[in-house]
């Protein structure tokens, strides 16, 4: 089931007495989520991603715009008639009911022609439990389960009615680091097995990139970029997206374009034909540096962190907007940095360098000269 958002806007009345202007949590969202895909809504806290999820679920009514599931306009439908499964950040499992009763709960609400017999309900509940591999914990209470197991129960409860769309609100944020890795693969697997269009909200870019078929990067209620994770990473639409994706984060420099050449603090570092002359913000991904004795960019070396497979070179440069810059380089290059070196020189990989307008922060495209 594809999900289509048409000019979706949500405004909340301001509670601030001085500033009466409405708070726009979701501003004119207009995009389509293809059928059977796993989509991550990604953005920092307060960017409107949970509100977007609530609008899709029907828990919030949009101020303007429409939500379609397939061809059906569900904008006016209450959540229970939309055919969604929703997993809450804190799971919201009923603490006084056993796992089995929790999973049965949505089925027991069915009325009229959808009503199921007790045996059918138990069968469906068992099926959902098996899917998330908690079929051995059916008689336990949520309080007796680990965080990861509770998460699975919540997913099973959301899936038991075979929803058209599955929504997950920060599904991994309550888990420890190890479980998080495990659970995100689990979510991917469950999504693939069921083929249900799944939308999840996260502020963790790594989480979103690793499992999503498509990510929607948001900031202050505005969509910044939509695309496949690798596409968005390789070609960020603006400085915010470039900064938000990637660990370690992108290095940002204040630069100058003169006659098709990018200058960082007087060093001519890259040919950027097609970019207009003037000041720019230049973002360089950590893996975009090449250690070269005759490199174009000279930096003060602050330290080298060895991580086994890679080394991380920490340096500083006058043009950098942050106190340090960080370059990830293959460990075999470690020998090229002598122990007492105070300077390093880099060449830049052209496809890892992005130029942005210093004020609008929009991307400035240039042709890569080989």
């Amino acid at each position: 089931m594809k999900v289509v958002l048409r000019n979706l806007t949500k405004k909340f009345p301001s509670r601030d007495k001085k500033n009466k202007a409405d708070v726009i949590a979701v501003n004119n969202f207009d995009f389509e989520i293809p059928d059977g895909k796993l989509i991550g809504l990604l953005g920092p806290s307060g960017c409107g991603k949970s509100t977007t999820l609530n609008l899709i679920s029907g828990l919030e009514k949009p101020t303007e715009g429409q939500v379609f599931f397939g061809e059906d306009d569900v904008t006016g439908l209450p959540p229970e008639h939309r055919g969604i499964g929703l997993v809450f950040q804190n799971y919201a499992l009923y603490p006084h009911l056993t796992v089995r009763q929790n999973i049965l709960f949505p089925l027991e609400n069915l009325k009229g022609k959808d009503k199921l017999s007790k045996a059918e309900m138990l069968e469906k509940a068992m099926e959902a439990a098996k899917l998330v591999q908690i079929d051995e914990l059916m008689e336990r209470k949520p309080g007796e389960l680990s965080g990861g197991q509770q998460q699975r129960v919540a997913i099973a409860r959301a899936l038991v009615k075979r929803p058209r769309v599955l929504l997950l609100d920060e599904p991994l944020s309550n888990l420890d680091a190890r479980l998080r890795l495990q659970t995100r693969e689990e979510i991917k697997r469950i999504q693939k097995e069921t083929g249900i269009t799944t939308i999840f909200v996260t502020h963790d870019q790594e989480e979103a990139m690793s499992i999503s078929d498509m990510i929607v990067v948001m900031k202050d209620g505005m969509v910044q970029q939509i695309g496949r994770p690798q596409e968005v990473y390789d070609s960020p639409a603006n400085l915010f997206v470039a900064k938000f994706l990637g660990t370690p984060p992108i290095n940002v420099f204040q630069g100058q374009v003169k006659g098709g050449t990018l200058y960082l603090d007087k060093d001519p570092v890259l040919e950027v034909s097609g970019a207009a002359d003037g000041p720019v913000c230049a973002g360089v991904r950590p893996e975009g540096f090449l250690l070269r004795k005759d490199g174009t960019l000279g930096c003060e070396l602050s330290g080298v962190e060895v991580m086994g497979r890679d080394i991380s070179v920490v340096a500083s440069n006058k043009a950098s907007m942050m106190p340090t810059i960080r370059a990830i380089i293959g460990a075999e290059n470690l020998a090229e940095i002598s122990a007492d070196a105070s300077q390093v020189r880099f060449c830049l990989k052209p496809n890892k360098v992005f130029l942005f307008h210093p004020e609008t922060e929009e991307r400035i495209l240039f042709e890569v000269v080989k």
Partner: protein
Amino acid sequence: MQKNIQKEKQSQSTGTTLSPNTSRKAGFFRCFSRCKGWLYLLPAMLFLGFFMVYPLIDVFVYSFEEGYNSASQTYFGTGTYNYSYVLHDPYFLQALKNTFLLVIITVPLSTGIALLISVGLNSIKPLRDFLQTVYFLPYVTNTLAVGLVFMILFKKTAYSDGLVNLLIQWFGGKSVDFISGPYWAKMFVLCFYTIWVVMPFKILILTSALASVNRDYYKAAQVDGTSKFRTFMRITLPMISPMIFYLVITGFIGAFKAYSDAVALFGTDLNAAGMNTIVGYVYDMLYGDSGGYPSYASAAAILLFAIVLTITCINLLISKKNVHY
């Protein structure tokens, strides 16, 4: 490093030289730290012992001493005569009946109505604070003032039949003497009064309990298409069940100990009015016009204690199944 070793040596040597003296001291400290917990508890235990445990035991003893005279501190003999007397006393049986009726009527009703009002309060936004204050007012209102209000409502005087009777007459009914008329009318007033008095506290407790239920449970239930009634029965009630249980237990105990409410409505001669309660009977046996029988009073008090204990135990047993902590 060397300094450290030196220090250690020093401390060792001082330790050995002082050992005979310190061992006694250490023993004292060990004893002290072992008893420390009890020491902290001592003031409270002394207080409770003097004013709670000792009187309890004393009452128990009195209840078996026949013809005890508190002035001369003498009695004829020991036995169960006091109990037999009390259990055959029509006034006590009347008091027992009154108390049981009061408990059975007021506890479920007051808790149920309080729950309804709390749910209502919890579901509205405008005027919630105002209404909460209104519902809490009886709790802070003086008993005598409340008694006066009830008199205006129910009492028949030479000048008026009371407000409620005026209403009854207005609807074409026959006026009833609620204060000194038929038994059911008096019982009705007593129950009405009791419910009205205990309600504010219950509403206060229940509204805060309802407010503390995580909203996400309701959202989850809504997404699953749960009906309002089922949400209330399967989610809200279990979630606030510990609070309801607390209110039921304290409600039972409070209603069994009812006395002042009856006095406020029917005056001090409750036996004559036929509206006595067990606690009222105990009081009358001690200090009333027909009083001066501490043995009977003790026996009645022990009987009340046994009843309350039994009911509370039953409550606890039931709660094990239905209360979710």
